[in-house]
């Protein structure tokens, strides 16, 4: 049985701060994540064509690793984390992933031995559990998926992660149709069920191999909502609806930490702010430094309580200032240096608040993820922490309340459209049953009919 969170790790929101986690994580070569300082976490993608063969791919990652380590030493950065997000070949052929991890770690060890730079390697396995038309969350693909974790863990990866996809077939359908119950069912129920399964297995692997089960993000759903919502002028999804999906995702991503993950949560989980409040575990976030990958309307705010600071992903190629990984790792390192100075000079809370205020009123999404509000969403989750459905629903309702209050204060200005969308989501949520079993059986019936690609057996249902 997994232990569910029923209380917050921090007594107040104000304790949430960058570089410090209640439960720091030691990993890799001398690194302590959340132990009083922040570190850059650099993420990259090989050039198109580099995946043509195993040898080519290993070479590409060797270049990337050397470039980053060299630049970090050149500018005097004390620590760095590298994140390799698997291209599908590496997870589908676990020995490729293992070989890449080994090659990278070898280089990192050389730098660590020579310069003492603290570093760790994260490998993020691709969620390969799908056929062309269907998710295939259990079965053959699951075995390969788990093997991919074992291979990288045995070959040098320090931190294990994934962006898992449970619930996405229902969510994809629902988000394009303003179907609130579907969002809740996809993320909060199906997503949570799948998370509990995979993360107890990943945590076992971490235990066996002496590595760290680091965490998952709801990229497949909450980030999809955020990207469909887009910028201020986009008309594809109300930003008030997108942030409700995000709030629900915190209840879902929390399942990893309940099943044995210990952080650092992965960069693109904007829900990590909420999760840090609940678990006290270190988290990675990304914002203004991930503009190379996407735009997010909260580039400064989301730095508020990061322990690692990431660039999400950048294709490896040349720029005027070096290769992309060098440019972006350098930018990250200077941001970390600024945060670390703030920590040493007793100004961390001021810097945090400045970062937050620069984006808090830019968009309802940032408003809810500002640490004071994020903490309230966390409280709503742990209030019914034992019940995956109820806590996800609580998070969604609390999110609506927070946005409403922000609008009432006059500071968070909403369009009429956003206001109406919010009212609709809230009314939908309030009309839902509190009985999890009934909710599941109703929605199972509904989505079996409406979504052709939804297969309940993926969830053991």
């Amino acid at each position: 049985m997994v232990k569910k969170y029923t209380s917050m790790a921090y007594a107040s929101a104000d304790e949430l701060i960058f570089g410090q986690a209640k439960f720091p994580v030691k990993a890799g070569l001398g690194l302590e994540i959340g132990g009083g300082y922040t570190s850059p976490e650099v993420n990259y993608a090989p050039r198109p064509g580099a995946g043509a063969s195993k040898e080519k791919l290993i070479k590409e990652y060797e270049r990337i690793t050397t470039d980053i380590m060299a630049r970090m030493v050149q500018i005097g950065a004390p620590s760095v984390v590298l994140e390799t997000e698997h291209v599908q070949q590496m997870s589908n052929n676990p020995d490729w992933g293992g070989a890449v991890a080994h090659a990278q770690k070898t280089i990192m060890e050389e730098y660590h031995d020579e310069y003492g730079i603290k570093c760790a390697l994260r490998h993020t396995i691709g969620d390969i559990r799908e056929d062309r038309n269907f998710l295939q969350l259990r079965g053959d693909k699951y075995n390969t998926f788990i093997e991919a974790f074992e291979e990288v863990a045995n070959n040098g990866a320090d931190l294990l992660s994934v962006e898992s996809m449970g619930g996405k077939e229902v969510f994809d359908y629902s988000i394009l149709r303003n179907d609130t119950a579907g969002m809740l069912f996809g993320i909060g129920v199906l997503g949570s069920m799948d998370m509990e399964m995979i993360w107890s297995d990943i945590a076992d692997i971490a235990k066996k191999t002496g590595t760290v089960a680091a965490g998952d993000t709801d990229c497949a759903q909450a980030n999809t909502a955020m990207f469909i919502a887009g910028g201020l002028l986009d008309k594809n999804l109300a930003h008030t609806t997108a942030i409700v999906a995000r709030a629900i995702s915190a209840a879902r991503s929390l399942c990893a930490y309940e099943a044995g993950a210990v952080g650092p949560g992965k960069d693109c989980g904007y829900e990590n702010v909420i999760i840090k409040g609940i678990t006290g575990m270190p988290m990675t976030t990304e914002g203004k430094t991930s503009t190379c990958a996407h735009s997010d309307l909260m580039g400064n705010l989301i730095m508020e309580c990061c322990d690692l600071w990431s660039n999400e992903s950048v294709e490896y190629h040349g720029e005027f200032g070096g290769t992309t990984v060098q440019c972006w790792s350098e930018t990250l390192a200077y941001d970390c240096s600024m945060m670390n100075v703030a920590l040493k000079t007793g100004k961390a809370k001021d810097l945090r608040d400045i970062l937050v205020l620069s984006d808090k009123f830019r968009d309802p999404q940032g408003y809810v993820l500002a640490y004071d509000n994020a903490y309230k969403v966390g409280q709503a989750i742990v209030k019914d922490g034992e019940n995956n459905y109820l806590r996800a629903k609580n998070a969604a309702i609390e999110c609506c309340n927070i946005v409403e209050e922000g609008a009432k204060s006059g500071k968070l200005r909403l369009t009429r459209f956003e206001t109406n969308a919010l009212a609709k989501v809230k009314a939908d949520l309030e009309a839902l049953t509190d009985d999890a079993d009934k909710f599941v059986s109703d929605n199972l019936t509904k989505f079996k009919q409406e979504v052709a690609v939804f297969k309940p057996e993926n969830y053991g249902l």
Binding site: T224, K235, L357, F361
Partner: protein, 258 residues
């Protein structure tokens, strides 16, 4: 916690969406656009509201009053969907409304088909796919919904579609337009292969390409490519072709914005 005074916020960020929001509510704007005919109006309104059952009821009422099922597709369903598309283009309503209206309209078309033996004529046929190796299909799903909503017959090949399967489908279906979606820099190169294989077979149809990773410069590199930034561009490209612009260069002039 530090805080900002209300009057200070404007100097830090501008909520342009709030500043520019249209005065009229979506319902009011729709009301102005509905056709006035007593039998057609309820169909159009039910489409706007995305209510499948109401669409069918309104169609039944129109048929009972003597309207021809096939004619209703163009005169009522498409007109209602036209209202929805215009409101979306004008920035008055958002995508989920369009998706729900499109679902309602398709249900309406199916219903009309059950009421007659005639076969409806569509504006044209479009084959849609997501590039080989790529499973990101949300953008493609929006593209197909909007195309259907605009009266096109869509052959949806799905995601991660092997190049040869695209070619076979084009040979078989003879569409007026092919669309491709790719979200990864590693998968978008399949478009070039599709282009080359089509040309090898002497097929010269516009190949509209879009999706996160794709950009105008890339699409301009192969002969049949026309880049579209937004899902709505796909049906606009199709409309332009129907209106007589079949030349790729001319289409590029119209749709390449950068």
């Amino acid at each position: 916690m530090l805080d900002l005074k209300l009057e200070d916020i404007d100097g830090i960020l501008v909520r342009y969406n709030v500043a520019l929001e249209k005065e009229m509510t979506p319902d009011e704007a729709a009301e102005e656009l509905y056709p006035k005919d007593d039998l057609i109006y309820p169909v159009a309104k039910a489409i706007y509201e995305g209510e499948e059952d109401d669409v069918v009821d309104a169609l039944q009422a129109a048929i009972d009053a003597g309207k021809k099922p096939i004619a209703l597709i163009d005169d009522a369903l498409m007109v209602g969907m036209g209202v929805v598309t215009q409101l979306y283009d004008d920035g008055i309503i958002f995508l989920p409304n369009v998706m729900m209206s499109a679902d309602a309209m398709l249900a309406g078309i199916e219903f009309c088909k059950t009421q007659t033996t005639e076969i409806p004529v569509q504006k044209g046929k479009v084959v849609c796919h997501v590039a080989e190796g790529d499973v990101h299909d949300i953008g493609k799903n929006i593209v197909t919904a909007l195309l259907r909503a605009n009266g096109y017959e869509v052959i949806d090949l799905g995601r991660d579609v092997p190049v040869n399967e695209v070619i076979t489908a084009v040979e078989k279906e003879k569409p007026m337009l092919l669309t491709g979606t790719a979200l990864m820099t590693t998968t978008m190169y399949a478009f070039k292969e599709v282009n080359d294989k089509l040309l090898e077979k002497g097929i010269k149809i516009p190949f509209a390409c879009g999706g996160g990773a794709v950009n105008q410069d890339f699409v301009s590199q192969y002969e049949l490519g026309v880049y579209g930034e937004e899902a709505a561009d796909a049906s606009k490209i199709a409309d332009a072709i129907v209106a007589g612009t079949t030349d790729i260069t001319a289409l590029r002039e119209k749709f390449h914005k950068h």
